[in-house]
Amino acid sequence: MKLSKIQELLQMVAESGVAEVEVEEDDFKITIRQNGPTVMMQPSYSPPMHGYGMPQQPQYAPQPQQPQAPQPQQPVPAPETSAPAASPSTSDSAPASDTTGAEADDGELGANEILVKAPIVGTFYRAPSPDSDPFIAEGDRVGEGDVLCIIEAMKLMNEIECETPGVIKEILVEDAEPVEFDQPLFIVDQS
């Protein structure tokens, strides 16, 4: 395709107001996207005066008292949403306003990597008690059923188990930090 033809095409697309055009011809393929109005689909509010969205709250303090000796009472199975294929579709299950630092990773997951997300709201703990070793560390290999962490909610210590075996590539949340539903906790490499 000649440059002049592309130029004309670009202008036509710009004027038409459509969002995206893809043209394939013989060995040639061109994709034209424009942003203008796309943003309108998203609520296009200016940033509020106050922060919002849990992970951005600077005033989050760790739980006042560390659990003395967490007694796992009600193991919670790892969430179904924790095993989507490593593709952009993972973001389907994440709330649009979920602007955790981890979300950036979301898009950068390697081919065999998955995210393990929080199945409940609560406080994230890496170890069964303040004096214990963490359940897992980065680089550890984990098998199905292995406990990855604890999320405390309403004084209950919920063990989060591994659903699909792999290697812990990254731990995305600090110990004793609050987490909300669907918040990414770990990146697991399944290869």
């Binding site: 309108m40 509010y45 922060g51 919002y52 709201v121 406080t123 909300e180 539903f181 918040q183």
Partner: protein, 447 residues
């Protein structure tokens, strides 16, 4: 009280956040993944995602909401309406976790939630109730005798009934036996419980309710009545204050009865007693809603106060000392639902492609919607409450008409055209309607 978690969504969550901020309270929104783009999430100081779209896994989960309160340090929870607002256990759980539940005590919610117990309690407090059997009928004969005593028509109702099943209207003694047995066998089949009770049938009643506020120490005040007879399948569509048929005398009598009933149970919080009112202006206790109502704004407009603020104040321990003052003008609320009035009000979820609110003098809009907002299919279909206030009912109707004309919502079907036709209806304009109104009112899709 420093930080309030709002255990709700939509317009009521936003409504509560607004008052909290004006009172200087910090706010925490909770939301399901389907509501991440909702305004209550944006306008709260903090927001916590508590679960997937299904209410059962998010807004109806006490554990997740308490956990959200714990991680954010919220010391009070406002339940709004619906969801956990009339869940006695939730009120108890909050209390167990030293979180102020902005609503009545668990025991009050439980008592008013059981229909026969609520009726008995109110009757004992001197609130007029629909005459009928004192509990379960021992036999068909007892029912027949009672029906003769209180006068036909009567309703025979299954104790375990609901949704209209196990229930029969009996117009005269001849039909009693047949209809009683019909209801009884239906109840037995449907609920495995053939127990029946009997009530006088209030014909063509109006649905009129009294807004109340109690401080839990026996002090109760009322804010006058709301007219809620315009309803379709028990869903209110339009409410107003005052009621076109309530005069000062009836208002005083209903207000005193309701206040008396709430004081008898030492009511704490905002609540509403619903009455059936017949053509002779006799009124009968129907039920008590132990929470804020959707239609509370019409009362705010004619009493010039912020009921959510009062509700929070009594939860903080303030004493109710305010007394009734005369109602000021007239207020009407239209519920704008994403429903297609031409197709039996079937829900019309989707994305709102254009949203422009009416404005100007005497117009209030409570909404969580905006241009680009996607209405999730998981929850109720109300997207806005349009409230007007004016000197007189006639002017309020005119103001509502022009406000509806100005209201632009594109992308989904709404009940705006229905309301426009309703406001032109002669019976509506004359104020001569009852709860059966919608049985005969027909929406004309081609108008």
């Amino acid at each position: 009280m420093k930080k309030v978690l709002i255990a709700n969504r939509g317009e009521i969550a936003l409504r509560i956040i607004r008052t909290c901020h004006e009172m200087g309270l910090r706010t925490v929104a909770v939301y399901s993944t389907a509501d991440a783009d909702s305004l209550h999430v944006r306008f709260a100081d903090e927001a916590v995602c508590i679960g997937p779209p299904s209410s059962g896994e998010s807004y109806l989960r006490p554990d997740r909401i308490i956990a959200a309160a714990e991680v954010t340090g919220a010391d009070a929870i406002h339940p709004g309406y619906g969801f956990l607002s009339e869940n006695a256990e939730f009120s108890q759980i909050c209390s167990d976790h030293d979180i102020t539940f902005i609503g009545p005590r668990a025991e009050t919610i439980r008592m008013m939630g059981e229909k026969s117990r609520a009726k008995k309690t109110m009757a004992e407090a001197g609130v007029p109730v629909v005459p009928g059997s004192d509990g379960i009928l021992a036999s068909m004969e007892e029912g027949k005798r009672l029906a003769n005593e209180i006068g036909y028509p009567v309703m025979v109702k299954a104790s375990a009934g609901g949704g209209g099943r196990g229930m029969r209207l009996v117009r005269d003694p001849e039909n009693f036996e047949q209809r009683y047995e019909g209801a009884r066998s239906e109840a037995d089949a449907a609920f495995g419980n053939p127990d029946m009770y009997l009530e006088k049938c209030v014909m063509n009643p109006r649905h009129i309710e009294i807004q109340l506020l109690g401080d839990g120490n026996g002090n109760v005040m009322h804010y006058g009545e709301r007219e809620c007879s315009i309803q379709r399948r028990h869903q209110k569509l339009l409410e107003e204050a005052p009621s076109p048929i309530v005069d000062d005398d009836l208002r005083t009598r209903m207000g005193e009865a309701a206040t008396q009933g709430a004081a008898a149970i030492n009511y704490a919080g905002a609540g509403t007693i619903e009455f059936l009112v017949d053509a002779e202006k006799n009124f009968y206790f129907m039920e008590m809603n132990t929470r804020i109502q959707v239609e509370h704004p019409v009362t705010e407009e004619v009493t010039d106060c912020d009921i959510i603020e009062h509700q929070i104040q009594v939860a903080m321990g303030e004493t109710v000392t305010r007394t009734e003052s005369p109602l000021r003008g007239h207020s009407i609320e239209c519920r704008i639902n994403a429903e297609d009035p031409a197709r039996k009000f079937s829900p019309s979820p989707g994305t709102i492609t254009a949203f422009h609110q009416p404005g100007g003098l005497g117009v209030r809009v409570d909404t969580h919607a905006y241009t680009g907002y996607r209405i999730p299919p998981h929850y109720d279909s109300m997207i806005a409450k349009l409230i007007v206030h004016a000197d007189t009912r006639e002017r309020a109707i005119k103001r509502m008409k022009r406000a509806l004309d100005e209201f632009v919502i594109e992308g989904v079907k709404t009940t705006i055209p229905f309301h426009q036709q309703l406001l032109e209806n002669e019976d509506f304009k004359a104020g001569t309607f009852d709860t059966q109104f919608m049985e005969t009112f027909t929406f004309d899709p081609d108008a």
